[in-house]
């Protein structure tokens, strides 16, 4: 392994970390603004122009706040849980091609940290580990609400993971590769080649599962304020809570990337226009996360499990079977 490769990889990691940490902060700003506008409010207005510096104010607050470790918690687990959420979210990004390859001063840059051949499997696997954050944090907190939240996160986890896997199986059968770059190149022919046209059911199923994966509003059961306070986050404060937050928002961005790359053609043929389109697609999916939060109510945990096991999973299995039959003939 030559030195140039190592330096390049480290540079990429730093850039991704910086960009997506900043985006996570900006994401909260957009979330507040979009939710506010949809509810005829103004949202943050006082810090900086149009409240833009609210993010900085929040950051300062989170960084400088006292790190409280309550009595009776299981200290090592309580401390490590937020790190799991944030770290796995960023680890998952390693196999995501954020941008087509481009050349700067005669040097070709691949904006993907590691183009491994099991890319999508790795991304989903590592994202799934992220659920240990809420689970362990909730169980270690010595708080009933956190415990309920931990139980919910485990229940939701086994429910939606099935849908995610089965929904992705059908498109992967068509592509014949697990690498996200391959999946992207499979659809490079333009809008008609997008997998969403041949696998609309899988697209919708995966999209629904993405809401459970990121714990966004219709499935925001793990930290449902009006039922279980902040769930696993109840006992956390300061930067540890902030890590949960960064992890959640980074996850939203990364899952948006995955949906856009797997189903909506990704960055297409790799031209600048394609890359720009990818950003637009990701922006749309991120916006949709906020949009549903303004519009939809939360379901109950039993309803979510009912939906996953009794409705979505049979549909997903049928989809896989039908895809297989169609591919055979």
């Amino acid at each position: 392994m030559d030195v140039a490769f190592i330096i390049e990889t480290i540079a990429k990691i730093v850039v991704i970390l910086l960009i997506f940490s900043a985006l996570a902060g900006l994401g909260t700003y957009f979330e507040r603004k979009v939710l506010a506008f949809m509810q005829r409010r103004l949202g943050p207005m006082h810090v900086g122009p149009f409240g833009l510096l609210q993010v900085a104010a929040d950051g300062i607050k989170l960084f400088t706040k006292e790190d409280i470790i309550p009595q009776n918690v299981v200290k090592p687990i309580f401390k490590i849980a937020p790190v799991i959420t944030a770290a796995t979210a960023f680890m998952a990004s390693a196999a995501i091609p954020f941008w087509p390859q481009f050349t700067v001063m005669g040097y070709t840059v691949h904006p993907i940290v590691a183009d491994i051949n099991v890319g999508i499997l790795y991304v989903l696997g590592v994202m799934a580990i992220g659920l240990y954050g809420p689970l362990l944090g909730g169980m270690a907190s010595a708080n009933k609400w956190s415990l309920i939240s931990a139980a919910r996160s485990a229940a939701i986890f086994i429910s939606y993971e099935v849908i995610t896997g089965l929904a992705l199986l059908a498109p992967l059968m068509m592509v014949g590769s697990l690498s996200l770059v391959d999946i992207n190149n499979y659809q490079a022919g333009g809008i008609t080649n997008w997998i969403v046209w041949s696998q609309p059911v899988a697209f919708v199923l995966f999209w629904i599962a993405a809401f459970a994966e990121t714990g966004r509003t219709p499935f925001h059961l793990v930290a449902n304020d009006h039922e279980i306070i902040d769930g696993f986050g109840t006992e956390y404060s300061g930067m540890r809570w902030g890590l949960f937050f960064i992890g959640e928002y980074a996850n939203m961005f990364f899952i948006s990337f995955v949906i856009a790359i797997v189903f909506l053609g990704g960055f297409g043929d790799g031209t600048f226009a394609g890359a720009f389109q990818l950003i637009l697609k990701v922006a749309f999916f991120f916006f949709f996360f906020l949009w549903t939060r303004a519009a939809w109510p939360d379901v109950r945990p039993d309803q979510l499990m009912w939906l996953c096991w009794k409705v979505l999973m049979p549909i997903a299995v049928l989809n896989v079977v039908v895809t297989g039959i169609v591919m055979m003939f």
């Binding site: 509810q39 005829r40 519009a295």
Partner: protein, 207 residues
């Protein structure tokens, strides 16, 4: 800053559009539940919800009151921090030291001291209201025969000291403001009804 809203119609409920919502019976069997889900999914209720919030966002009809910069109007009978008023013509204090307000105050928070001054007038030397106990019931303003103690519209009670609002010097209209005509008459409890002069009947001498 003093905003007052003129309420013309206080009967809100008479003209409002309240109506009962029809709620279907809850499904009992699994098959009924399934049918309900399918029906709701097919009807696209979720998308109606999405459209509603999107419509509001596009219309951008913002209702936020940016409070320190903008303020909502308050009702004319709003009962905020008290004021002691002066007589318009002479500038004397209206309060005659009768002590009715002190007597009626249900939370016992008015304290006053009086003395007979050189002109044999009763003079109020001390007058304070403990705002920590005051419940802003308005009885003091109601009972005052001279319209001396009234409620002002000053509801922003943030201060370094609670005492800033309650001693006589703070409540009493300063003389220079009175001469500048800035003392406003209190239209709330106990105030004279507009046009009441016309309805005063002179006592016939025959009595």
């Amino acid at each position: 800053m003093h905003h007052e809203e003129v309420f013309t119609d206080r009967n809100v409920s008479e003209h409002s559009a309240y109506y009962y919502v029809d709620i279907e019976n809850y499904p009992v069997t699994g098959w009924d539940k399934f049918k309900q889900v399918v029906k709701r999914a097919a009807k696209g209720e979720l998308f109606v919800g999405l459209w509603v919030v999107m419509r509001e966002m596009i219309k951008f009809d913002i209702h936020t009151v940016q409070y320190p910069k903008e303020k909502l109007p308050i009702g004319p009978r709003y009962r905020a921090v008290h004021k002691l008023l002066r007589l318009w013509e002479s500038g004397y204090e209206r309060c005659i030291g009768c002590g009715l307000c002190e007597k009626i105050c249900i939370s016992d928070c008015i304290r006053m001291d009086t003395r007979i001054d050189e002109n044999s007038r009763k003079e109020v030397t001390e007058y304070s209201i403990n705002l920590g106990r005051c419940i802003f019931c308005g009885y003091c303003a109601e009972v005052c025969p001279e319209l001396a103690i009234v409620h002002g519209g000053r509801y922003e009670n943030g201060s370094e000291q609670r005492a800033h609002f309650v001693i006589k010097d703070d409540m009493l209209t300063p003389l220079d403001l009175l001469t500048a005509g800035e003392q406003s008459e209190y239209p709330g409890f106990g105030a004279i009804i507009p046009g009441s002069d016309a309805s005063v009947k002179k006592t016939p001498l025959a009595y």
